[in-house]
Symmetry: C2
Subunit: 342 residues, 2 copies
């Protein structure tokens, strides 16, 4: 199906654009009262994510309400360990929690092998199909997965953590186990992302939320190595977002993907000097800017736009939008980008 607003896709590929495309990480979520109404009709986050009609409904909401240039499927990166046999719960105000975690070779036996990825994650794939139908070619749909290192963090730690020291401990005490698990996650992720494309996703993004807690060498060995495998296996617009991986930026620019996501602390001019015209950069307004007044939002957004030295940009925040941001403020951000002449 032809996509009428394909700015996001053209910017990804480095083609000519009339203006910069804009969307927000976590745009399908608690910022919208319309989302909260759907969310209140089910038992919890997981039921919402696992009900394709509802996941599709909240995925389309920000396209209708905020006017973003891309939709991103409503789901979670933890569906992958879940599919591998390590189920998670999403605990209100606390975040994800796994009853079982992986610390030893014997824990690996908890995981199912030779799983039918498309069958186990059929609820996401079906949500993608429904969303594509409902979008009806208005804007592209982005699919996503967590990067293997970040998924490993949750499978070892069992929940969020400030330091993920259990997982980092494993890298020193049993690197073989870490690599075996990372490879299994990678294999499943590649099948999963290809299935997302097959079901209609127009582009993909890999989230490495905990990239920043590893030093340079360790991130090369336990992070980038697997990201590279995934990127090499996938065609089309693909964004890698390694949050906090400042020292990995030069290596990220050599990946065979179209786009690099930048967090709000990354210097966009420095990133451009590393990327040249090889990569599209996505980001990176500080999400806290959206707490300000509309005029302050306009000012900070214009400052970001003025800093661009290339057309290869997709405008976004440098992190997911915070749930207590007012939709009017998000709209002020989007309006400023849309009115900006390249």
């Amino acid at each position: 199906m032809k996509i009428s607003n394909d700015l996001y896709l053209r910017a990804s590929r480095g083609e000519k654009i009339e203006r910069y495309p804009v969307w927000l990480m976590r745009q399908a979520g608690r910022i919208l009262p319309e989302y909260r109404a759907v969310r209140a009709s089910v038992s919890g986050f997981k039921e919402l994510a696992e009900t394709p009609e509802l996941a599709a409904e909240v995925t389309v909401q920000p396209v209708d309400i905020l006017g973003v240039d891309a939709a991103i499927i409503f789901s979670d990166i933890l569906v992958v360990p879940d599919a591998m046999g390590l189920p998670y719960q999403m605990i209100e105000k606390k975040g994800p929690w796994f009853e079982h975690t992986i610390h030893s070779e014997s824990d690996l036996k908890r995981l199912d092998i030779k799983i039918d990825v498309a069958e186990r994650l059929s609820y996401v794939l079906e949500a993608i199909s429904i969303t594509k139908r409902e979008l009806n070619g208005r804007v592209p749909l982005i699919g996503f997965a967590g990067a293997p290192w970040t998924i490993l963090c949750y499978m070892v730690e069992g929940s969020g953590s400030k330091t993920f020291s259990e997982t980092r401990k494993l890298l020193y005490t049993n690197p073989k186990l870490a690599h075996e698990l990372l490879q299994r996650i990678t294999d499943v992720t590649i099948i999963y992302l290809k299935a997302q494309l097959k079901h209609g996703a127009d582009a993909l993004q890999l989230f490495d939320s905990w990239a920043g807690i590893l030093g340079h060498k360790q991130y090369q060995e336990f992070g980038m190595k697997y990201i590279q495998q995934i990127v090499n296996a996938i065609e089309g617009p693909f964004t890698v977002f390694s949050k906090g991986a400042y020292s990995a930026l030069p290596a990220l620019m050599d990946l065979a993907c179209t786009t690099i996501g930048l967090d709000w602390n990354m210097n966009i001019e420095h990133a451009r000097s590393l990327a040249g015209e090889k990569k599209t950069l996505q980001g990176n307004l500080d999400p806290c800017v959206l707490y300000g007044s509309e005029s302050a939002i306009e000012k900070e957004t214009l400052q970001l736009l003025h800093s661009f030295k290339s057309q290869r940009h997709i405008v976004n925040l440098g992190h997911g939008v915070y749930p207590d941001i007012k939709p009017e403020n998000v709209k002020a951000f989007i309006k400023t980008v849309k009115n900006y002449e390249i």
Copy 2:
């Protein structure tokens, strides 16, 4: 009093040393069974920190037991907001918690003004005096405080946070209030640090634990500006440890302090290239290395030592030692440093 092992002080000043000095952030703490025994004799962390004899006892323990080249007074960075009129509790397994927080000008009225800093923090100063007596010149004693930005984070947020988005929100919505509070924290901190020196501290360290959550410009405005005031007001060996402040490294090297602390993700050769011979660098072994075998610890520690291109180094971890690390493993780290010939 003459200090017999003054390696730490000489390394701080860039004087000649026979070997690199070594100590660990959080060395006075849960890693030692001897600490846990003292801790079990009181109601909680706060009682321990507020009882000078006991605080002195656990401060000296790692000198006796681990053989570190410096002691650091057992205390907490949150004694400063506490003294300012915003009391905290330390909740087991959860961390610090403030009943009241600062979000508006009217909240500022909760704070006491014109406080007698030395009187309110007399328990820390007395612990320093007792520790100096008990150390009897064996090794230097380090005093410390939190950097104003990190203290602001707790006074606004009221507890730990992954994003400290409430505090970052304040920087956009009410920068005037943020600056007023930062200035008040700075003024108290300068008086407090000077009092620590007067009571016998031989050196000081400023901990900016949440430096890494601000972008470059914001850290200059809300972080470095106040660190600079503090550093300029203090004489003698002084370490500034701005965790995660990668883009601030060049500016940190221009501060009028002797030493810059590096977290475990910072590249020590890059930091040296920025510092030249102007600064001593402190750090930065990944604390998770200490989960490994003794031979792995030796190997990683030697790799760190080999990377030094100057004598101006104080060896430490790149973060506080994790509480479940075995004392034997800490000893293997210390032994490797002590046996290393410059």
